[in-house]
């Protein structure tokens, strides 16, 4: 199954927007987490907790889910595939892991002991590093195909070769390498 050019661009744009938004929201969460470490008064802790909860439930979770979903669509509905290239597979594993951890992590939001602990900054920094690795993989697309991807490539090349040969026969083009003078005249 492959998508048309327009739809592919739309899904890619959505995927990039969600992923970049996820990165930015995590950075904003880190800023709140660091602020929470330095504040002891109840109103500040309450405000920071509220901010973290809102960012967690209404920004981070929707963006991370959308990033995973659009990434899946983008890979499965294009020639890249989900398990054909190692970099796509690596990004998928990172995304699933980050989503699972995030869903567990947002359960902790709403606890004042959590806001005052050093866990939120550590979690945010680890999340930022994971997202940075995913971004690097997307931009550099390191080489390497899986055994499945390699088989698919071979099949595609064989099919293209057969198609090309069939087209040559249909067009009645003389075989390559035959001198001009020896070609049969129509």
């Amino acid at each position: 199954m492959t998508m048309g050019r327009g739809l592919r661009k739309l899904v890619l744009t959505t995927h990039i927007s969600c992923s970049v938004g996820w990165f930015g929201a995590t950075a904003a969460f880190l800023a709140l987490a660091i602020t929470g470490l330095n504040r002891q008064d109840a109103p500040s802790i309450g405000a920071i907790d509220l901010g973290m909860r809102w960012i967690g439930w209404f920004v981070l979770v929707p963006l991370s889910s959308a990033s995973l979903l659009t990434g899946l669509i983008q890979s499965l509905a294009t020639e890249w595939g989900l398990i054909r290239h190692y970099w796509v597979l690596a990004k998928f594993l990172l995304n699933v892991f980050a989503n699972v951890v995030l869903l567990l992590f947002v359960q902790s939001l709403g606890s004042s002991s959590y806001v005052r602990s050093d866990a939120p900054p550590i979690h945010s920094i680890v999340a930022l590093l994971l997202l940075l690795v995913a971004t690097v993989l997307s931009v550099y697309k390191p080489r390497g195909v899986t055994a499945y991807g390699w088989r698919k490539q071979q099949e595609r090349r064989a099919a293209a070769s057969r198609r090309w040969q069939a087209e040559q026969v249909d067009a009645n083009v003389p075989a390559l390498g035959v001198p001009e003078g020896r070609r049969a005249r129509p």
Partner: protein, 56 residues
């Protein structure tokens, strides 16, 4: 285990047609780092220091 260089299955130069390319070095590094991360997370969660343990 050998690792292939630039001449993997994507180049199409025909040098390695007929056999599957071996796993690139970066994939092995990534796999090890990812496993360490997952294990660290699992250990932290099991010991009560992971996310979800601050629920009020």
């Amino acid at each position: 285990m050998t690792t292939h260089s630039d001449g993997d299955g994507e180049t199409g130069n025909g040098a390695n047609l007929g056999r599957a390319p071996s796993t690139p070095r970066w994939v092995i590094g990534f796999g090890v780092a990812f496993l360490v991360l997952v294990l660290a997370f699992a250990i932290m969660a099991a010991s009560g220091h992971g996310p979800g343990h601050h629920m009020s």
